[in-house]
């Protein structure tokens, strides 16, 4: 019964999430245009939060999510406007563009890690913004770019497009969790000397993590652009796209796929309510959340749950082994 529940429950939730737009006439309160657009916004942040956590698993803190997200926005816009790509293909191009930039930058910056890497990423969004701001007519300058038409004007399609961004992030994160990469990143995070003595090429794995997460962030940027149709340097590289995903992943539980999802849902709704109540400076809540989580709950909500689950499992095995030993006499 327990197993059925642990399988059926998430599957049921998932089905509901996917099928939500279909209920728009039945339950407009949760499936009408406003809730759907709120959900889309949550999905965007969710995907970014997952991608941030993926790199964080290696012990590297990136403050540059907004940078690669913005590159994705511009990558998609420029692909459509200057290369005549189809909107769908441009989203892929956005991801590849962000990944390429990450490869070049990471090649240099990942040689020295920790603070140096983090500060560099902090500067990235600003650097990219300036470059695109000064790019003249090619990049649309300070006013930004408009694409002729957005990918679809159907709310349901846009909802599923945003959801597919989450799917991409989930797939990437899942890959990181199920393959050797999980061991490599965890080892690197814990102790680089021990990692090296296990045959782990640290630079290689960090570069892979950086490039893949930037790819995801670029894809999400492309999705964002194709959903709204325009962007400018200031809005594409808005610091919110770094701040919120970071807070979400921390609160929900780092070093996991589920944690950022939980965090995104919780803080996504909170963000919406706060924005309406407090026009200026509602972001202070995120700063405070980050401080509190780091001090009092660094494993996040899911992390706490997971620790207890592992302890229980280990105790069960202890008991089993003791019983075996006792029966042997």
């Amino acid at each position: 019964m327990n197993r059925l529940l642990s399988f059926a429950l998430p599957l049921g939730c998932l089905a509901l999430v996917v099928a939500l737009p279909l209920f728009k006439d039945l339950a407009p309160a949760i499936a009408g245009p406003y809730p759907l657009s709120l959900a889309r916004s949550i999905f965007i942040y969710m995907a970014l939060a997952i991608s941030w956590d993926m790199l964080f698993r290696s012990g590297q803190v990136s403050f540059g999510i907004a940078g690669f997200f913005g590159l994705g926005i511009y990558g998609s816009a420029l692909s459509v406007l200057r290369l005549g790509m189809s909107p769908w293909l441009s989203i892929l191009a956005a991801g590849l563009f962000a990944a390429l930039v990450a490869l070049l930058i990471g090649f240099v910056v990942l040689r020295l890690r920790a603070i140096y890497f983090s500060i560099t990423t902090l500067a990235l969004a600003e650097i990219f913004r300036i470059v695109l701001h000064n790019g003249g007519s090619f990049t649309g300058g300070p006013e930004g770019l408009f694409i002729p038409k957005i990918i679809s004007s159907d709310n349901a399609t846009l909802y599923w497009l945003a959801l597919s961004g989450v799917v991409v992030a989930l797939a990437a994160s899942s890959w990181f969790e199920r393959s050797k990469i999980r061991f490599a990143l965890t080892a690197i995070r814990n102790n680089e000397l021990q990692a090296k003595s296990s045959g782990i090429g640290i630079f290689k794995y960090l570069l892979v993590a950086f490039v893949v997460t930037s790819f995801v962030q670029g894809i999400v940027g492309g999705i964002q652009l194709q959903s709204y149709g325009s962007s400018s340097p200031d809005s594409a590289f808005d610091a919110n796209y770094t701040l919120l995903p970071l807070a979400m992943a921390l609160l929900g539980g780092v070093y996991s796929t589920v944690g950022p999802v939980i965090g995104a849902v919780l803080l996504g709704f909170a963000a919406e309510t706060l924005k309406l109540r407090i026009p200026y400076g509602h972001l202070v809540v995120y700063g405070i959340i980050i401080v509190l989580v780091i001090l009092f709950m660094p494993d996040g909500l899911y992390g706490l749950w997971r620790k207890r689950a592992r302890a229980r499992r280990s105790a069960r095995i202890d008991a089993r082994m003791a019983a075996k030993g006792a029966s042997r006499g």
Binding site: R111, L112, I115, Y116, S118, A123, N134, L246, H282, G287
Partner: protein, 307 residues
């Protein structure tokens, strides 16, 4: 300072660059030095916190911003000159820094370093957004008569007020050096930075040292915030670039190398001023420090590879 072949080479190079700039657009030399003064002054407290005791504080610039706002409102309310408010504001900031240290950073020091990064990032957001909340994103500026003091040499006019930052930087550099070498707390800070456990064993109160150094740095950066207000417009996000540039300068110079910070600031200031002087490059001047970071990282990683 050792007189080595390398340092002679750098001095000659530096002089050559200075003369070149002088011949091309002399005002750039002046503005570059003035800029450098501000950067150096803000970077030196970070050299103390990051370079000496290795506390990562991403909210460095935000403390300066808060001090600037505090100075603005107290100067306006009491109808006094900001410089009169400077001392009280720095003391209040030092106290504030101590409180922040006690409540938050002290815990994070026991955890891996990336916790400090994230924690102080959170603090930076909290500070700048609180200011945003209280005073909106609008920028405020004080108009003071002495700020537009200028001088003319030959055919060139330039503002000289900003040299006050150069003076502050030199004062801070000398003061810091004296602090580290002549005072007990300063020497304790050096010891703690080199080996915290060892310092504890020889009887140094490590926690008190961290608290003092952190509070001192915040107080100093607060003083700079008060000065900053006199010349620049302030808005909630004004501190961010200074955090990054300070970090960049301290990282470039290396641990405990205060003169390195001064030279680095000079290079940064001159580079930015030069770019500002050329119309086509003006918009790109803020990228200079980024190039500097990348260059630092490259040089460092090559050096480490050899070791």
């Amino acid at each position: 300072m050792l007189v080595t072949r390398r340092s002679i080479l750098w001095t000659v190079l530096g002089l050559a660059v200075a003369i070149a700039i002088l011949m091309w657009k002399p005002t750039i030399l002046v503005y570059g030095i003035e800029r450098a003064g501000l950067y150096a002054a803000v970077a030196i407290p970070m050299a103390l916190v990051l370079g000496i005791v290795h506390i990562v504080n991403l909210s460095h610039g935000e403390f300066m911003m808060v001090a600037a706002y505090a100075t603005y409102f107290s100067a306006r309310a009491l109808k006094i000159d900001p410089y009169l408010a400077l001392l009280p504001v720095s003391l209040v900031m030092a106290l504030f820094g101590y409180v922040v240290y006690r409540l938050t950073i002290r815990q994070a020091l026991k955890a891996p370093e990336l916790n400090q990064l994230i924690l102080t990032f959170g603090i930076a957001i909290a500070l700048s957004q609180t200011v945003n909340l209280l005073f909106t994103g609008q920028s405020w500026k004080m108009s003071l008569s002495y700020v537009s003091a200028s001088m003319s040499i030959g055919a060139y006019d330039f503002g000289v007020y900003d040299f006050v930052f150069v003076a502050a930087a030199i004062l801070l550099a000398v003061g810091l050096r004296l602090f580290l070498t002549r005072t007990k707390m300063g020497k304790a800070a050096l010891a703690v930075g080199q080996n915290a456990k060892g310092a504890a064993i020889v009887g140094i109160d490590v926690d008190r040292t961290y608290a003092f150094v952190f509070a001192l740095a915040v107080g100093l950066v607060g003083a700079l915030g008060a000065m900053f207000l006199t010349k620049q417009a302030i808005f909630p996000g004004v501190g961010g670039p200074y955090t990054m540039k300070s970090f960049c300068l301290v990282a470039m110079a290396g641990v405990g190398n205060i003169t390195g910070v001064l030279w680095g600031s000079l290079a940064l200031g001159l580079a930015e001023a030069s770019m500002n002087g050329v119309r086509e490059l003006r918009d790109w001047s803020s990228i200079v420090f980024f190039v500097l970071i990348i260059a630092t990282i490259l040089v460092r990683s090559v050096k480490e590879k050899k070791a």
